[in-house]
């Protein structure tokens, strides 16, 4: 994975700690290998290759993730969409180019989970459509890796996959983990808050990971799959939820919504959050 990842566990001895963390890392690698859109042998690549062709049967694990994504798509009124990745072709964050609306419209015809036929276990994408598991894949891996450690007997530790943190259990003395929230306008590593997370997971979505500025306007990598344009409602949204996959999905969806509807969505999901809007205003619950 192209981000900072760590496994932290308390164990009786180094051998146990090594054994547990190796097992956790192996589970993360398994999921990455299976779902990375960059890997030739991945299921994601196979699904995308089959786009426009006959329905393709998928395994049960993939079916679970597709069910989850379908659910999120419905709950977020289409803001969370596994097919939105093709929009990145129009938005070149290295070249700092704002695309023409015509180019976006062309790509938008290839975006939309409603255009996908998903009847578990059969999946059929329209021609030239693509999916990726951004927003849930990494988080799912964190949940699973933590479960692997817990199954081996680990009680205290956490899995951190690029800022998406799944807690195995609190510190050995029972103290909760203090997880820092990056200042969305500060240097890398500058934090604005710590959240205590004894159990469960925390995930953050921010507009600062990739962006460019053009004519005084900021264009972030957060693209609304319904319009094709970057959204600038939030600088960052951190969500604490029982599962990393839920925290990650909630953060992703909230980022794409205006303040009022994002807060309503988070409240409805019953999660804790710290959200910083476009003006630096903080909302926490």
């Amino acid at each position: 994975m192209a981000s900072h990842c760590e496994v932290r566990v308390y164990a009786a001895d180094e051998a146990a700690a090594r054994h547990w963390s190796d097992a956790a890392i192996a589970e993360v690698r398994r999921i990455e290998t299976k779902y990375s859109r960059y890997r030739d042998g991945s299921i994601t690549t196979a699904i995308n290759h089959a786009a426009g062709g006959a329905p393709m049967g998928v395994d049960t694990e993939t079916a679970s993730l597709l069910d989850f994504a379908t659910n999120l798509y419905q709950q977020s009124d289409g803001a969370f969409d596994l097919t939105s990745g093709v929009l990145r072709r129009a938005w070149d964050f290295k070249a700092r180019q704002v695309p023409a609306q015509a180019a976006l419209n062309k790509l938008l015809s290839r975006v939309g989970w409603s255009k996908v036929m998903w009847q578990s276990p059969l999946l059929q994408l329209g021609a030239e459509m693509e999916i990726d598991f951004g927003g849930i894949g990494k988080e799912y891996a964190a949940d699973r890796a933590a479960a692997v450690v817990a199954d081996l007997g680990g009680q205290h530790g956490l899995i951190n996959l690029g800022g998406d943190v799944r807690v195995i259990g609190p510190h050995a003395d029972g103290e909760p983990w203090r997880i820092a929230v990056q200042d969305p306008r500060g240097e890398q590593g500058v934090t604005i808050a710590y959240l205590k997370v004894p159990h469960g997971a925390m995930a953050t979505s921010g507009d600062y990971e990739r962006y460019f500025e053009h004519d005084g306007r900021r264009y972030s990598h957060l693209l609304d799959p319904r319009t094709g344009w970057p959204v600038e409602h939030w600088r960052s949204v951190s969500v604490v939820a029982p599962l990393a996959i839920a925290a990650g999905a909630c953060a992703t969806v909230a980022m794409l919504q205006p303040v009022d509807s994002a807060l309503a969505f988070l409240d409805q999901q019953g999660v804790r959050y710290l959200a910083i809007d476009n003006h630096g205003e903080r909302y926490a619950k």
Partner: protein, 381 residues
């Protein structure tokens, strides 16, 4: 200790005689009472100890005048140990350490107007990251012959949990509850009582410290109903009282519970009273309790069906499972001349899925056990 995780302890303390059964009469107490109690409680499963509670409590009842009575209570709970109850059979790991000290103070003021008494109660409870305020009003009224007493009361409590730095992640829970009841003296040796309870909880009903490795998503409201019928009979020849009660409980989480309790208070020579007791309880599971079986594909920590219903309610809390529980106890008390009395009490609790009546118990859970010891000394002036 947090209110939300003390249900078994609370159930143990709810034995008639510990929390006083509503008096059959409305009369002004004529003596000042000072009482000290020390409670030790621990629960455990075969895989290890769970929670240990040490709790000293002080209580003062003081009639100030012919018609005013003050009661003051102070409790300190020291809780340590591991979080219990969550699918311990599968976790391969038991609890997470917790350490907490809770202090609670409460004040009750009662004003008597002849056969009518109005009590106002306020309580405050606090620990590191938790605080609770509560208050309530109770009205009791007796008929002229003092054979029938009506009770009506209402209470409110507000709990705040802040499981993070700063005020920002504070979560609240409010409870409104009410009681109506009637106590009837049926003769020289018999008293019967019927009480109805209602409680409405709103807000954050998940215990943030209890969700072990799994998913705990609960509704943010809970309506609870209970009816309790009690009957006390005194056997002249045996110099003993039989105190029996039956409690029916139902809530909108679809837990229904039935509890029967019997206490035999035997008077003995030299001011001793020996009280053996037994309680049996059986309950159905909350509709969102899931057995220790995880998603067949993704496995732990995903509950079955999670991917197609991530917003559903899920809990692996053993207290929300279907089970039966038996709790025998023994109490010995001695009164001395001069108003002193001492008592000691031991109680054992065991909860098993296959002890449930009227349905299957939740499978795959380890039996849950608890012991409770209490020592008390009091003095009347």
């Amino acid at each position: 200790m947090k209110k939300s995780n003390s249900s078994i302890l609370a159930a143990a303390l709810a034995l008639p005689g510990i929390i006083s059964t509503a008096q059959a009469q409305v009369t002004v107490p004529n003596a000042t009472l000072i009482q000290f109690k020390y409670l030790y409680y621990r629960d455990y499963q075969d895989s290890g100890n769970r929670i240990t509670v040490n709790s000293p409590a002080l209580y003062l009842l003081a009639p100030i005048s012919d018609s005013w009575v003050f009661e003051i209570g102070a409790v300190y709970d020291n809780v340590s140990g591991a979080s219990p109850y969550y699918h311990s059979v599968l976790s391969g790991a038991s609890g997470q350490g917790i350490k907490d000290g809770r202090s609670q103070g409460d004040l009750t003021v009662t004003k008597y107007f002849g056969r009518t008494a109005i009590s106002a109660r306020a309580a405050y409870s606090t620990e590191d990251d938790y605080k609770s305020i509560s208050g309530g009003l109770t009205l009791r009224h007796a008929t002229p012959d003092q054979n029938t007493t009506f009770t009506i009361g209402a209470g409110y409590s507000s709990d705040e949990v802040s499981p993070s730095d700063g005020p920002v992640f504070t979560r609240t829970k409010t409870t409104i509850d009410g009681i109506v009841g009637i106590t009837q003296v049926l003769g020289r040796n018999d008293t019967a009582q019927l009480n109805f309870y209602y409680a409405q909880q709103r807000g954050y009903l998940t215990d943030p410290y209890k969700a072990l490795f799994g998913v705990d998503q609960r509704p943010d409201h809970r309506d609870q109903y209970a009816a309790v019928i009690r009957w006390n009979h005194y056997f002249d020849g045996l110099k003993a009282s039989l105190r029996s009660s039956y409690r029916y409980y139902h809530d909108d989480w679809e837990i229904s519970a039935n509890t029967v309790t019997f206490e035999w208070a035997q008077e003995l020579p030299y001011g001793f009273t020996l009280t053996p007791s037994v309680r049996y309880s059986t309950q159905s599971a909350a509709y969102f309790y899931y057995d220790p079986v995880y998603d067949p594909v993704a496995g732990r920590p995903f509950p079955p069906g999670y991917f197609s219903n991530p917003n559903g309610f899920y809990s692996a809390d053993q207290r929300l499972s279907a089970f039966g529980a038996i709790s025998p106890g023994l109490k010995i008390a001695k009164s001395f001349v001069g108003g002193w009395s001492v008592d000691a009490k031991a109680e054992y609790y065991e909860q098993r899925a296959d002890w449930r009546l009227g349905g299957e118990g939740s499978p795959g859970l380890e039996d849950f056990k608890a012991q409770l010891y209490q020592f008390g000394v009091s003095k009347k002036f």
